[in-house]
C-alpha cells in the first residue's frame, strides 16, 4: 500500500497534454469507419461519403409561378388586351397544348406552361369570361414563369462530400429526386458505467450509494442526436471489467466509460483496457473538469478497430467529455476532421485565472448582434444543477485573467 509521490499539484502535473493536443491526437489516430448507402429518410445528421449531383433540372420543366393564365403574345402586353381561352392546365398535368398568338390557357401554380407561352398573367390582373380573358394591367413578357433548370441544372453538384445532412438538406435532395445517399457509417457505441457507488435502486441509498447521472446523461445526449447506445453497468472489480471489455471490443466501434480512470486503487479502466489489448493514445488532459481522461484504441488484425474513451466519473466531467471529446471522436469516426462548432462570445464580467484550461457552463444572450456570456455558479466537477440554466459551454484559457469584453470560444448546448 505504499504510495509514491508522483505529482506536485493539481494543475502543474507533468506530462499532461492540452485540449488542442488531445483533439489533434484524436484526428491523428482515429480511422474512419466505412461507408454505407442509406435511404435519404434515414440520413438525417449523417455525413455524405460522396458528392451528390442532380439527375434533373430544377424546375424540371418551365412552369407557372402563380394561379392565372398562360398567354401567347408578341412582346409586352397592354391592359385591356383580350385573349381567347383555349383550355386549362393543372399542376401535375402534361402540357399537351400548344398556344398560338392571341390565345391563353387557365393555369395553376407549378403547372407546366404550354408550348409558345410568352408570359403568365396572375389571376388578380385578369377579367375572365367563358371563352376569353381581358387583362386589367399591362404585362411584361416572361412574367411569373419559372424556367426549367433556373435553380439547378441537370448534372450540377447539389451537395459536397463530407457535408452533414440537415433537415433542409434532406428536403433539397428530395426535391431533386435523390432517394438514397452514401454516408459514413455511424459507430456502434457501448457505454460502460463503472463504480460500486452507483445505486441501482432507491433502497441502495441507505448504504452510501448515489444516484447515477452519467448513464441518463449519455443516453439523452445520443437520443438528441437520434442515436441509440447500449448501456452496461460494471462493478469496480478487475475481473468483471476485463471480461466486459473483452466482449465489447470486438462488437463495438466505440466504448465510452465513466469512472475508474484516475490513479485510485480501484481505477481499473485504464490498466484493464491495456491488458485486454488496447493501446493508449492519451491519458490526462490539462483541463477542468475532466483531467484524467483516457483514450485508447484496439485493433483486431487490422480489420476492426475499437476505440475507448474513458471519461472520469464526475458528471460535469462526463458532460464536457461528451460535448467536446465524444462529439469530436464521432466526427473523426465518420471521416470528419472537425472540432466542435465553436462560436465566439464576449464576457460580461471578469474571471480569475486558473492553472488549467476550463470549460465553464454559462448563459449566452444576444444583444444587438453580440453574444454576451455570463458565468454561472456551482461549476465544480461533481455538480450539474447549473445545467438547468446554462445554454453554452465556454472554453477559458489557462493562466489568464479574463477581462470584461474579452472574447472566448464556446458551443451551444
Amino acid at each position: 500500500m505504499n504510495q509514491s509521490v508522483g505529482h506536485l499539484a493539481c494543475g502543474a502535473e507533468a506530462g499532461l497534454i492540452s485540449i488542442d493536443q488531445a483533439l489533434a491526437l484524436i484526428f491523428k489516430n482515429v480511422q474512419s469507419l466505412g461507408t454505407e448507402t442509406v435511404a435519404l429518410s434515414d440520413a438525417l445528421n449523417h455525413f455524405l461519403a460522396e458528392a451528390v449531383y442532380s439527375s434533373l433540372n430544377l424546375p424540371m420543366f418551365s412552369q407557372s409561378a402563380v394561379d392565372g393564365y398562360a398567354i401567347c403574345a408578341t412582346g409586352d402586353v397592354h391592359a385591356h388586351t383580350e385573349f381567347e381561352l383555349v383550355g386549362e392546365l393543372r399542376a401535375g398535368q402534361l402540357a399537351n397544348i400548344s398556344l398560338r398568338e392571341g390565345q391563353a390557357v387557365r393555369i395553376f401554380t407549378g403547372a407546366a406552361i404550354p408550348q409558345h407561352t410568352t408570359t403568365v398573367a396572375r389571376q388578380e390582373i385578369v377579367q375572365a369570361y367563358a371563352d376569353k380573358i381581358v387583362l386589367s394591367h399591362d404585362l411584361a413578357t416572361h412574367t411569373d414563369i419559372r424556367d426549367i433548370g433556373e435553380e439547378i441544372a441537370q448534372g450540377q453538384r447539389l451537395a459536397e462530400h463530407g457535408q452533414q445532412l440537415s433537415v433542409g438538406a434532406i428536403a433539397a435532395l428530395s426535391m431533386a429526386g435523390v432517394r438514397h445517399v452514401q454516408v459514413y457509417r455511424y459507430p456502434k457505441v457501448a457505454v460502460v458505467i463503472t463504480g460500486d457507488e452507483i445505486a441501482m435502486e432507491a433502497s441502495d441509498l441507505a448504504t452510501g450509494k448515489i444516484f447515477d447521472a452519467n448513464a441518463p446523461l449519455i443516453q439523452a445526449w445520443f437520443k438528441a442526436r437520434n442515436q441509440k447506445v447500449s448501456i452496461f453497468h460494471v462493478a469496480d472489480d478487475e475481473g468483471a471489467v476485463s471480461a466486459l471489455f473483452d466482449q465489447l471490443k470486438n462488437q463495438y466501434d466505440l466504448i465510452i466509460t465513466t469512472g475508474g480512470v484516475s490513479v485510485g486503487d480501484y481505477d481499473f479502466v485504464r490498466p484493464v483496457a491495456l491488458k485486454v489489448g488496447f493501446e493508449q493514445i492519451f491519458w490526462k488532459i490539462k483541463q477542468k473538469p475532466g483531467k484524467p481522461m483516457f483514450f485508447a484504441q484496439y485493433t483486431e488484425r487490422n480489420l476492426h478497430h475499437c476505440y475507448l474513451l474513458g471519461l472520469p466519473g464526475n458528471p460535469a466531467a462526463v458532460y464536457v467529455g461528451m460535448q467536446i471529446y465524444a462529439s469530436t471522436l464521432l466526427n473523426a469516426l465518420q471521416n470528419q476532421q472537425q472540432q466542435p462548432n465553436w462560436f465566439s462570445g464576449q464576457m460580461t464580467h471578469a474571471l480569475k485565472p486558473d492553472a488549467r484550461e476550463r470549460f465553464l457552463r454559462m448563459s449566452v444572450q444576444f444583444e444587438q448582434g453580440i453574444l454576451r456570456l455570463s458565468n454561472l455558479t456551482k461549476q465544480q466537477s461533481h455538480m450539474l444543477s447549473n445545467l438547468m440554466h446554462a445554454n453554452c459551454l465556454v472554453r477559458v484559457p489557462a493562466n489568464q485573467s479574463i477581462q470584461i469584453g474579452q472574447c472566448l470560444n464556446g458551443i451551444f448546448i
Copy 2:
C-alpha cells in the same frame, strides 16, 4: 369560370395580418393539451408541467473530493505530521468508522468521510506506509471535502414549471434521484400532403409530376425533435380531402397540410376544412414566403380540439412554416407562450426593401463575439437548394432598406 378581381398586387392585399399578429393569434386561440407523467428517460425536450423539488441533499453525504486520506486533526496541519492509518473507505461503502485525533483512513473520490474527519489530504501530498501516513505539504482544515447539501439542499427547487428538459437537465434531475416527471403531452400530429403533381414513383415524372420535398422535410423536422408523425397523401379532390379531414380531426391534435390553401380552383384545403367543422383563426400572412398560410381549429364537444395548420405547397414556404409557425404552435399546445428562439445578428451587406416581411435563408458567422449575417441567393419560394449552405433563417421587416451593420432577428436552423 368567372373570376372576380379581388386583389390588387401581391404585397398590398387587403386583410393580410402580420407575422406578429399570426403568432399572437396562435397563443390566443390554442388550448394546451393535458399533462402526463413520463419516465425521465423519455422526457427529453418536453416541458415540465410541475416544479421539481429535490428529495435529497446533494451531495447526499459529506464526501472526499479526491483520492487520498481523511484525517482527524485540530486546525491546520503542518508538513511532516504523521497520522495512524486505521482503515479504508471506497465510494459506495458506508462510512462506519469514527476517527480520533491523530488518525487517518485511506479514502477515494466520492466516498463518505468518516465521523470526526477535519480535512482530506490528496494522495499526491502524502507518503504512505503500512500503518501510518506522513504529510509532505501543509494542509488547511476542511480541504477537499464536499459537504452534504452544498450544491442542493433537500426540498430546494431543482426545476421550474414550464422548463424544457435538455440533456443537461435530464442528467441533473437524475442525479437528484428524479425518475419520473409530469410534462405537457406532445400532440399527435398528422401530415397531409396534397397535390396531384406529386410523383409517387420515378415513372410519374414523364407525366408532368414532380418529386415531393415536403413530406421528407416535415418528417425530418420532427425526427430532429425525436418525434414521429403520420404522413398522408391526398389527391386534389374535394371528396378525398373531405373524407380524410373527417377521419383525422377526431384522432389527431394537429393536422399540418401542404398545398391547396391558395385561391386556385383546386385549393380545397380551406373550404373543405371549414365544411367539416373547422373554424378559421387566420388565413394569409403578409410575409414571403408563405403568404397563403391557413390556421383553423375544430372542437369536439369541448372535449377534443384539433388544430389545422395549412401550409402552402412551395417547399420554402413549408420550411418557414415549420420553423416559425409549427414550432410556435407546438409550444402553445404544450402550454408555452413561446415564439421561436430569436437571436440578433448584424448584416454584412445591404438588402433592398420588399412590401412583405421576409424570412431569408442566410449564413451566420461568429467574429469576435458578433454574429455576422450574409444573405444567400435563390430565395424564391419554389427553391430549396440554398438550405445546403444556410445555417439560419432571418426575419427582415417590410418596406425597409436594410443597411450594413443593421441588426436583424433570426433562428439557427
